[in-house]
Homo-oligomer: 167 residues x 2
């Protein structure tokens, strides 16, 4: 898995992603929620994976400007035919490295409570679910996260200090 | 105009804004494009104006993490009944100050070419329209900005060094 090719995102990556993104999410209109600005202004914490010249995965994140210890993962997508191949893990680990390199020890992100595979993935990646007043189907959920009644599962992960080969 | 009360945005501002935002924009579904994350992680460059305890305007912006000299204004809204009262100007000027205080000398933002009042406002605020290959109705437009064929007018403003009362 270590040879999965990964590089920083660039503005030119945006349009090829956005035109396939809803298909990657079973037709859900998620592409409206992913702005080009992340591919322009948050390149140091955003990454893409290409295979045979074709973009098959990406992660968009940033360093919190309110909380100097935190980094945030905003959006992650992997081509449906290339899932379970370690691409998501590779993207997250690369982001964790970027966060550590910028002095961050906490990573946050969120997902929908109906997205059970996303919840399982985040738990495997070492995230914890933040406690909430409401628990639905055993999962703590933040109610009315967005003003339109939508529930969200909020994750947090403490980054361990990086292990160096020598010190 | 100097006594327009302005403060940093906070997460609790998000829901009251988002439920009225489409109405503020003549019913256009703009609220889908404004994420809560800006009210959490970019508070130092995001501002709200309240009058009589009611939120009547806001600006959401951030410091570019790719370009260390740049700041970006992502979204601005003013209550329809409170326009032409200097609230937009106050929000922009407060953002310019925050950008300068963080070592930024360039501010960027964009708007839709159909939004003539927004274009006029940005020109009054000292922005220039970035040149593009395509000019529509006399306005340079960036074609297919978002992968779905949408055109955008891109603005840039160089901040002048701040004048101090004494030095």
């Amino acid at each position: 898995m270590n040879d999965i090719p990964i590089r920083h995102a660039q503005p030119e990556d945006y349009n090829p992603i956005i035109i396939v993104l809803d298909d990657w999410f079973d037709g859900r209109p998620v592409s409206r929620t992913l702005h080009k600005l992340f591919f322009i202004h948050f390149r140091q914490t955003s990454f893409v994976v290409e295979e045979d010249g074709k973009l098959v995965g990406f992660l968009v994140g940033f360093l919190s400007q309110t909380f100097p210890d935190e980094a945030y993962i905003h959006f992650v997508g992997v081509h449906p035919e290339r899932r379970k191949a370690g691409i998501g893990r590779k993207l997250y680990e690369r982001f964790f490295d970027a966060a550590r390199n910028n002095g961050r020890d906490t990573v946050r992100c969120l997902t929908s409570p109906v997205n059970k595979s996303s919840i399982a993935f985040h738990l495997r990646m070492g995230f914890e679910i933040e406690p909430q007043e409401t628990v639905t189907d055993g999962i703590p959920v933040y109610r009315n996260y967005d003003g339109h009644g939508i529930e969200r599962v909020l994750f947090v992960k403490q980054l361990s200090p990086r292990m160096h080969d020598s010190f």
